[in-house]
């Protein structure tokens, strides 16, 4: 029987909630595994889950240096969408969307996936043309995308300033109705629990400090909790990719770590029922079920491993917010924080075997890897289990930069702070 159901909820409510099983065991690391996954973020946990579920590989450890969910999986603004331009991204992010749509049932854990749509606002005719092009590309791949008029936009989000006298007048927008939000912590906890129930050891407070080698081959790791060996070692550490890979002697990668900030306002009555993006700068927002506006903007724009941002960006984000919603001027900001983003040189991820024998690499998520969590783990597990990529992640190689087959969705070139 499913562990969480109406029946067990009722039964536990009547018996003082004393009989719930721990969501995941506090596992002690064992000396040897078939697979070690470094990084207990969304991607590491979903990788472990799909290794067990899809490939029957259960002798697996996830090693997390802090507590589970302390990285970006617990810091993001939870937007889930698949409205990219290029076919490689269409296929990958639509697979993610398919997994999202059934995730709560699959995990028996409510991840609160809410398909409330994602609306990109256009402010110039050129921008609207670009949205039409992207919308057509999406529809060509069978993915939903719909152009919206100012009138439709105003009906959907009445608080928006759609007057012609706005600083950047809104002239239309493009909507992906199947996009939305999910509860980020629940995604981490649900995958952790699902992996644990299938035998995976989730080892928290266990930082990888070095790699054990046999010639070129990676055979294990040294950690703050001792040496652990494994046949296969998978790296999924997002913003820490540069420093972890240096421990294995990989000195350069097509990755820069930069900080992205996010914010939550005090609780408001319902004002925003979709994920909204501003087109004349970097600003986007949604409203949480508790009523807080969850919003963010651009990267701080320089290399950082600090997990905190600086004030100029705070000012910029709020000025953009007020350009769209003058009525929010007296609303107070409740919290702000930063997370480390692994910005790749073309804005697309890397999910691959190598670069050393015995090693597998998952990184380059930029500031958009939350939506990818299901498909990333699904594809990475396939790649680890079969020693070759699935067709969905085959384009996301590490050597594509040197081979000239980039997947640059925004056409920004090798300038990660502009993706």
């Amino acid at each position: 029987m499913r562990e969480y159901s109406a029946y067990t909820l009722l039964k536990n409510a009547l018996t003082g909630n004393r009989d719930w099983k721990q969501a995941w065991r506090k596992a002690e690391p064992r000396p040897h595994y078939d697979v070690i996954v470094i990084g207990g973020g969304g991607h590491g946990l979903s990788t472990a889950y799909y290794l067990a579920k899809e490939h029957g590989i259960t002798n697996v450890a996830v090693l997390e240096k802090g507590y589970l969910g302390s990285g970006n999986v617990g810091r993001n603004t939870t937007a889930v969408r698949s409205n990219y331009l290029l076919p490689e991204n269409h296929r990958f992010y639509e697979h993610s969307m398919d997994l999202w749509e059934n995730l709560s049932h699959d995990l028996n854990y409510n991840v609160m996936f809410s398909q409330r749509g994602c609306l990109n606002l256009a402010h110039t005719p050129g921008q609207l043309d670009e949205y039409i092009r992207r919308g057509n590309a999406l529809r060509h791949s069978g993915i939903d995308s719909e152009l919206m008029t100012v009138k439709q936009i105003k009906r959907l989000v009445p608080a928006l300033d759609v007057s012609g006298s706005a600083r950047f007048p809104i002239i239309g927008g493009v909507m992906q109705w199947s996009a939305g939000t999910a509860r980020h912590d629940a995604v981490a906890w649900g995958y952790a629990r699902g992996a644990d129930r299938r035998g995976v050891d989730i080892v928290e407070n266990c930082e990888v400090t070095g790699f054990l080698r046999d010639g070129d081959r990676v055979t294990g790791v040294t950690t703050t909790r001792g040496e652990i060996r494994a046949g296969k070692i998978a790296v999924a550490v997002a913003g820490s990719t540069g420093s972890v890979m240096k421990l294995a002697g990989i000195e350069t990668l097509p990755i820069e770590s930069q900080v992205l900030q996010a914010f939550v306002s005090e609780s408001l009555k319902p004002i925003l029922n979709t994920v909204l993006t501003f087109g004349m700068g970097h600003f986007y927002a949604s409203q949480s079920d508790k009523g807080g506006l969850v919003y963010g903007g651009a990267l701080d724009g320089y290399n950082s491993y600090a997990q905190r941002g600086s004030l100029p960006l705070v000012e910029e984000v709020h000025s953009e917010m007020l350009a769209l919603f003058p009525s929010l001027a007296s609303v107070r900001m409740l919290r702000s924080w930063g997370g480390l983003c692994d910005m790749s040189m073309d804005g697309s991820p890397i999910i691959t075997t190598g670069p050393l024998p015995g090693m597998y690499l998952n990184c380059g998520w930029n500031y958009g890897g939350f939506k990818a969590t299901p498909a990333s783990g699904w594809c990475f597990a396939w790649t680890i289990a079969r020693d070759e990529p699935h067709a969905l992640n085959a384009p996301f190689t590490l050597d594509r930069f040197h081979r000239g087959i980039l997947i640059d969705d925004k056409g920004m070139g090798a300038t990660p702070n502009l993706h």
Binding site: T252, P254, Y305, A306, S310, M345, F401, H402
Partner: protein, 92 residues
């Protein structure tokens, strides 16, 4: 974050534009070595710690600056004019 421009003095970081990692060497214009060009364009050291980088004081004197900054603490350790560093190509 405050950056001390050698020309203008201490200024807020928002006056400056980040131009990326400073340790990269651009191959000679006439070079046909594809891997050297690829490495220059795409590969980064991405140091956690003291990091060599280029900024421009675009909201001030417009000088290009070579900066060493700690990427963990954001402390700026040294700022010099990029043209004063020896790896700068001399015009022919």
């Amino acid at each position: 974050m405050i950056i001390k421009c050698p020309w203008c003095g201490p200024r807020d970081s928002s006056e400056f534009v980040y131009q990326g990692e400073g340790g990269r060497t651009r191959p000679d214009q006439s070079s046909t070595d594809q891997s050297a060009w690829n490495a220059y364009v795409y590969d980064r050291v991405n140091t956690a710690g003291d990091h060599d980088e280029i900024w421009q004081h675009s909201g001030g004197c417009r000088s290009h600056l070579k900066i060493i900054r700690n990427t963990v603490t954001h402390k700026v350790l040294s700022v010099v004019f990029a043209c004063d560093t020896q790896d700068q190509e001399k015009p022919a």
